[in-house]
Subunit: 427 residues, 2 copies
């Protein structure tokens, strides 16, 4: 597989805007832009290296503010061509940053509490952000099939983006997934292939396919396009700061699956500081996991630098990655910024989903229950300062995880008359 | 009930921005702003009468363009106070107008085809627009409980809006509704009352409650707050024109439930013309129904001015109003503008949902299947001109009507190896 993961020869020049090269996160080795994801020197993860040197801060700020109401307003800071907004894509982002005053009162937050609500994306999860990036990379590299392995949100995001772009899509899932999830992924009309095996088998098969001539022309959004894909999460950091009036939040609570999102949010915040778009002030990043899949918070609490894999068992299925690739980087960021990593039980996740819905009218996916639940726990423990500006991420939509709150129901049943209404104490 | 539906005495002055009075659609009789919905003279429906006389066109345009990315950018044209954007509300609107080039190719549209995708609203349907208006009226009249009868989208929209605003909500539904729909409405934590009876019984009970002292302080969004509520649909017309670059579309395809949305879209377009915000050119409005509940298209085709009620039997449940209150107005608008009213079978609805998802990556509710299906039918019949700019509304989200496409599934099942992959013809 090594020959597929590293750049072995000169790659034709591709136009991905300010993206200059791929750079190894571990050793700094640089290779040309291409569909590769691991360093040929040390097998570390490759990231996008940019050339932002030509930007004037105030010109850049104006260009962003005049841009479209989606992630492409940040095109000058992303690995995409300058005319990206004119190409068919699902154009996610610029989702609401909700000032959550009711929730703040319940949690005792006085410094300003905000929910960044990514359920407003086209397929109702933050995955649209990363897939939209991968799609542009796929186009740049001449791929004709967009693919991924998935058990949920990612399948829909890939299917929808490929449909809009006119690319073929082929998504691999365990064949025995719940019918509802199959429908949500199948409706976009691409190939949806059930693999006889579990999610690990699906992933193993995808790796095999990438290394085989049969996989030629295939862009796996989170494998051979991963360096591009991952950059999509930076846009969450950009939007939060711009929506706060070009200001860093003091504290931000981010869910952890692979850990990639948290590391890219940190990267996005640091870029804004370097570009002069926000004032350089300290910020703290907090990671949130479900207790049933908490390898990073376990390592954090034990003071470890490495993350020991776990077998997931939680209702927060979109976060259920037992061996998170970016776990060590998350630990590093939480410690460097003065944040923390915490986890909550499934019961606390459900309670937090209901709390957010009841206070702010936002129906979050289980991952949103994890971040809100962790926020409450961090305030109670004193790790999170209630007098500081705090942003909590909701990365998905409650309609996709209805089972988690299936116990919610009628508060009363009455006959259709006023006597029955009064008897029920509803007046 | 009459004493509750008409203004019987001087109403205290309320600040609802440019809204000046309520005016009868039938006889033009005016009454002060208040929680009333039927004319005291002729029992015709009351509408908002505005005073827009102070506006300078270009100042107004700039004020809108500088406004927030939600319906409150149009606050100067809505019955809301000027500081509405600062109050807690769910802030719907400014949803995507998607240039649907792939769908256009399939349908043979050459003049530009757009989908106005209201699944991007906070609770994923256009109902957020109307409920957000009703909420402001409820606040202005000092109501403390927000209420409605519902079998779906409206219940969630009311629950979410009341939660954000800190009002009590009490929603009435038939007690035997599907569990999924109950969960979607119950999660916001308000009262959710099951009525032992069908939807007609629920509505009858609500009317009784409005006429009783027990209903004091209750705002029923689509009954005693209906004149305000209905204005929310105007924002669809405003957004479409602004997103087209302050231009009227030539043709627009709108779903018909009560018919209110279509009549208010027409009202919104005429207001933009009168205000000078768009050039005065002809436009055609087309109405779309499901065959299983097509009282308006039946009347249209028969050349009638009145609408004969039907007993609904269609999968497009959000449009299943057998006796649409605004049916005659819809007939009038379709004929006056040179449009038409058409219907499609449930089978065509499902095919259209899949067509839209496959071509544009938009997963629509059944109501979106109705408009896309009707658009196809109108092009085939020649009623809709494919060389003209056409906008099709999608008013809801496919995640809420998964059952409609439950037959969609895996395109292949394979073992986790390359041989099986090749055998399936996927390479």
């Amino acid at each position: 597989m090594a020959v597929q993961t590293v750049a072995t020869s000169g790659t034709p020049t591709v136009d991905l805007g300010p993206a200059a090269a791929l750079s190894c996160r571990e050793c700094g080795h640089r290779v040309p832009l291409g569909p590769v994801f691991a360093c040929e020197e040390c097998f570390g993860p490759l990231e996008i290296a940019y050339d932002f040197s030509a930007y004037d801060t105030e010109e850049l700020r104006k260009r962003i503010e005049d841009g479209p109401a989606n992630i492409w307003r940040y095109a000058p800071l992303l690995p995409v061509p300058a005319d990206v907004a004119d190409k068919p894509n699902i154009n996610p982002g610029w989702t609401k940053l909700v000032k959550a005053d009711n929730l703040a009162r319940e949690l005792g937050v006085t410094g300003g509490l905000y929910v960044k609500d990514d359920s407003g994306n086209p397929t109702h999860s933050f995955k649209d952000r990363v897939v939209a990036q991968a799609l542009e990379a796929a186009r740049a590299f001449g791929f004709t099939t967009l693919s991924c392995s998935s058990t949920g949100n990612l399948a829909g995001a890939v299917g929808a983006a490929a449909a809009r772009a006119g690319l073929r899509s082929c998504v691999f899932i365990p064949h025995d997934l719940e019918q509802g999830k199959i429908v949500m992924a199948a409706v976009y009309g691409g190939e949806l292939v059930g693999i006889e095996g579990n999610y690990d088998d699906v992933n193993r098969f995808c790796s095999e396919l990438i290394g085989d001539p049969a996989g030629e022309g295939w862009g796996f959004v989170n494998v051979n396009l991963r360096p591009y894909y991952a950059e999509g999460s930076k846009t969450l950091a950009y939007e939060i700061c711009e929506q706060l009036g070009w200001r860093l939040p003091d504290q931000i609570v981010v869910p952890i699956a692979s850990g990639s999102q948290l590391t890219k949010i940190d990267k996005g915040l640091r870029e804004l500081i370097e570009l002069g778009l926000v004032e350089d002030r300290p910020y703290k990043i907090f990671g949130a996991q479900a207790e049933g899949c908490s390898p990073v918070s376990t390592a954090y609490k034990a003071g470890h630098d490495v993350v020991r894999p776990q077998k997931p068992n939680t209702i927060a299925k979109s976060l259920a990655i037992g061996n998170p690739a970016d776990g060590p980087y998350v630990l590093d960021i939480a410690r460097r910024t003065g944040g923390a990593v915490e986890d909550v039980t499934d019961e606390q996740v459900v309670a937090a989903i209901k709390l957010l819905a009841r206070t702010e009218g936002i129906f979050a996916e289980t991952a949103g229950g994890v971040t809100v639940g962790v926020t409450r726990k961090l305030i109670e423990s004193g790790a999170l300062d209630p007098a500081k500006t705090t942003v909590v991420l909701n990365t998905g939509d409650g309609l996709k995880t209805l089972d988690a709150v299936a116990g919610t129901g009628l508060t009363a049943t009455i006959r259709p008359n006023l006597d029955s209404f009064r008897e029920a104490g509803l007046a």
